[in-house]
Symmetry: C5
Subunit: 268 residues, 5 copies
């Protein structure tokens, strides 16, 4: 569970409901017709703009937005440095067994390519192409939420216009203008809530998580190529740590100090 996502959406919802309760009767903010226009119109626009497959991917991306990502760059560096040591001691072929046990498909594929003796230029080429298209797929899934954030206030306004026009055209009793206006404005409220409480923050979360995953994969590519080039494990570690924030890096140094002591014995 991504705690921040849960806390964020609950906090926002709670405060909006609190605001409504303070106005008196919360039921006056509930209107089925408005929900249909905003949610249905927005969904119509999004379905027209994308394919059902993109929508399925976007639903999976939604799961990602609410679960913790396991792209800890620190862990990946530890694994890569230990692979670099093993490759130096026992040769590249020794990595085959370890690769098959990896969770991450991308890292596994990269190591397998190296074990297979693929040309380094081709390894980089294949992995970077995969990364480019991963980025493109992420951006498409995010696009569904961005389009939702763009269309939902528009359909909120459309619903309010429909309500206003209906009320004004049939206006007999000037006293009815207040409640009629209130009813019409509810659709605008729904559109604004959908965009700002749900779609826009989730699109941003997906962007941030995508950057994290891409960073992790960039670390993997650099590490895999360094291992293939037979670089000194200490150099590999130094290179990969440049991808980390200084604070993360310090934690990593403490944890990793024993590992490196071992490595120095071996590499020395």
């Amino acid at each position: 569970m991504d705690l921040a996502s849960i806390v964020g959406i609950l906090l926002g919802t709670a405060l909006v409901i609190m605001g409504m309760l303070l106005e008196g009767d919360i039921t006056m903010y509930f209107q089925l017709n408005s929900i249909f226009i905003v949610a249905g119109g927005t969904m119509g626009g999004v379905v027209l703009a994308y394919s059902f497959e993109h929508l399925k991917n976007a639903l999976e991306a939604l799961k990602i937005a609410f679960t913790d990502s396991d792209d800890d760059a620190g862990d990946i560096i530890s694994i890569l440095v230990s692979f670099a040591e093993k490759a130096r001691r026992e040769g590249l072929l020794a990595l085959e067994d370890e690769a098959s046990e990896l969770d991450d498909d991308f890292l596994q594929k990269g190591i397998q390519l190296v074990v297979d003796g693929t040309d380094p230029q081709l390894v980089r080429n294949i992995l970077e192409t995969e990364l480019d298209f991963l980025e493109e797929r992420h951006s498409l899934s995010r696009g569904v939420f961005e389009k939702g954030a763009e269309l939902s206030p528009a359909f909120g306004m459309i619903g309010t216009l429909i309500g206003l026009i209906g009320m004004l055209a049939q206006l007999d009793d000037p006293d009815a203008i207040g409640p009629g206006m209130a009813t019409a404005l509810i659709t605008t409220l729904y559109g604004a809530l959908m965009a700002n409480l749900i779609f826009s923050p989730i699109a941003e979360k997906l962007k941030v998580k995508s950057q994290g995953e891409i960073l992790a994969k960039e670390v993997m590519i650099e590490g895999i190529l360094s291992i293939q080039a037979g670089e000194n494990p200490r150099i590999v570690e130094e290179k990969l740590k440049a991808f980390l924030a200084p604070t993360t890096r310090n934690n990593f140094d403490e944890e990793g100090s024993e590992g490196r002591a071992v490595e120095r014995d071996v590499a020395g």
Copy 2:
């Protein structure tokens, strides 16, 4: 038929009409004058901004938005891998007949260039130039819809201003202000519907489809150049699969497993 496009536009329209019906008489939302101002003004602006040829291309792009694309990267990879095998067994010239049967002009041209013995650098140059200008043409056709999405709410507001000014300037009876306002607001409603139910989602759909087509063509370029370089079909497959999503890739592996078994016999 692109089912998502049809479903999307029908869903949105249905919900908006439902919203109108719930207000009472749906005829009060129909106003010919408003349609003329919004549709005509938007069309005027779009025609001024583009040429008739661009508009014709945009209409064809509209067809594309509502039909299924046949750019299945998986199929293209299968074809390219089988070509790579044939070229290895029988030489590049053997591809001439197969090329002539291809549906895709781009792929056909690329294979023909290879068969003609064109310099690899020139093959890449020609195909990438074509791809760049394909992208530019797509972006021009999409531009027509993006301009429509920008201009239609503006002409909706212009129509409403014209109505409001006319009503207010001649205001004798304060009771008439309600119905007059309703009439004026209908043009704003039309502008918002045109932009958010039609132009904006279609522009997005064209963008997504354009990305799919460009991806397919990038796969073709890589494949054609690999075939020309006489690369091992297994390597060709590995390289091209990097362009696919992991899920698609797995499907492809299952389907393609026999093909590869054959290929290994041959290439081994």
Copy 3:
């Protein structure tokens, strides 16, 4: 005459006027004061933002927006292929006379550089620098219209605020609020019309035409360098056709088939 530009601006204007006529008396939409504020304020902002020279260039760009461009990439390719043939038969110097008869300064200059025996790297360097700065000049002229499209609705709102404040501050008779409001809103209407009927579409048209001209010049650069490199005219044609849309390309093939038949005799 660029027919689309003329038709577009007339269509938009006609529909807006029709909308006004349907409200009754069209004279109530005419207000000199409002024209002064919107047109004058916008012009003031644009003059402050640019120099008089840029404004003069923008006026010339306006002429371009309403006249047909003669950058037919097909014609240019025909000329370049015929030059490539002549250069192969009679040497580069033979192009001097033909170059002097060319309408296009850019193409003429490029051929002249080749005839003068300039280093190919320098030819590319000079022509690409010219193209970069052509693009920058186009973008400056377009900027005048984009700034106009940004400032005119703002000055429309400023005029309406001036009118509203004046009316409200002196409000004695509540019945006067309707006509006063109508008068104030006319300035907003003018600002919206200037931006959406004139400035914004013209800026887009200039952008589209600029892309066309740049494409034509890119074709020229490729062609000139191919001629200088003494490439086979058939290869030159193949390379340059990659810049065209497939449909245009087919037309070109039909027209050009005789030329190529001749060329093959020569080159063969």
Copy 4:
């Protein structure tokens, strides 16, 4: 004096004042409180966003927006071509005296580096680094005005909200709503005027002038490196003229024809 800047700001101001005079009493548009909120709030936001040093630079940039720039690319090319001739006749060292008399620090420094026998790659490196950071400094100074254009309408709205809330909360006499509204709207008017009459056009002017200065410096870099490489002055001229607009170029040819006649005698 940059005449266009002066004319533009006077024209805009005059028409706005004219608009106010036509409403009757111009003093009703003057309200000290509103000036404080818009000007003070905008200044507060800008000071928070930048440092005092950036503000000082922005004030100097303001001077630049209202004075003529002396970056005439034509003059610079004349100087560089004459330097190229002198360097060919008398050697690079002969440029030392002339360089010391140059107004432009950038050109002077470049020539001095060449006279000092600095490595050409390092000369390019140093001059391009300077140009990059010149561009960054320009963009920071411009940013102050762009932030002003963004914040001033927002503080106009904030002032109007403060006025509206104050008026509505204390509303006893419905007749007072008109004048109260007028007073509240004045702050919105001030914000719109500050953004559209001052900040936005000045930011654009600075951008245009910055482009002009950067173009001039790019001409200098190309010229300096050509001189260092000992290129033929005619080639130098040809290369640098590619940076000019065709019209400017023609003027330059006429003026420069004598100079070139001399040069040909020498270079021939």
Copy 5:
């Protein structure tokens, strides 16, 4: 303390409070409910969009926005030039002690890599990777404030809609509409103030400071690599000064003149 940040936020706040005081009773602008909706909703959206770690980083970035940065490029150049001199006289190893006393981790790490005899290409690679990810982390922290600037006016509007709907739906007494409206508008006011007085200027400040830090680090990378290449200290200084504004550069020349006199003796 970053004086401009403090002065800016105090100035803006003071003027807004002054504006409220002039309307009469300042307590009518204070409403707890509105604060909860705007601040809570915005915080909800930001927490959903980012992780708690990013929020912690954003709070630290807030500290940076209000404290003086110590990235004086002039000081850094002085240090690097003195290191270049020392390295020339006593060899690269002599820098080890001095490096260990440096405050800046980035510079220290770079010098240490050089002292360790790391390959120059790898040194550049490591330092530039660090710089890229520093830039990415800065942009994430800034994103928290940019998201706040985007969401707070939206939640201001949401709060106002909740208030308006509640008031209009229960409207009995038309006289109550004024005060009810005033109450509803307060939430819009809070949203506008949060965005324009706090979030937007702070995001800009962080951007400006980030650019300053990145400039300083770019100077360090150039300097470190020049020292490793054993370049003449005078050349190092000349290269690095290209990163400075001309005015800063002149100050630097005066301060640094003695240093350079010494250096010339040594290097000569």
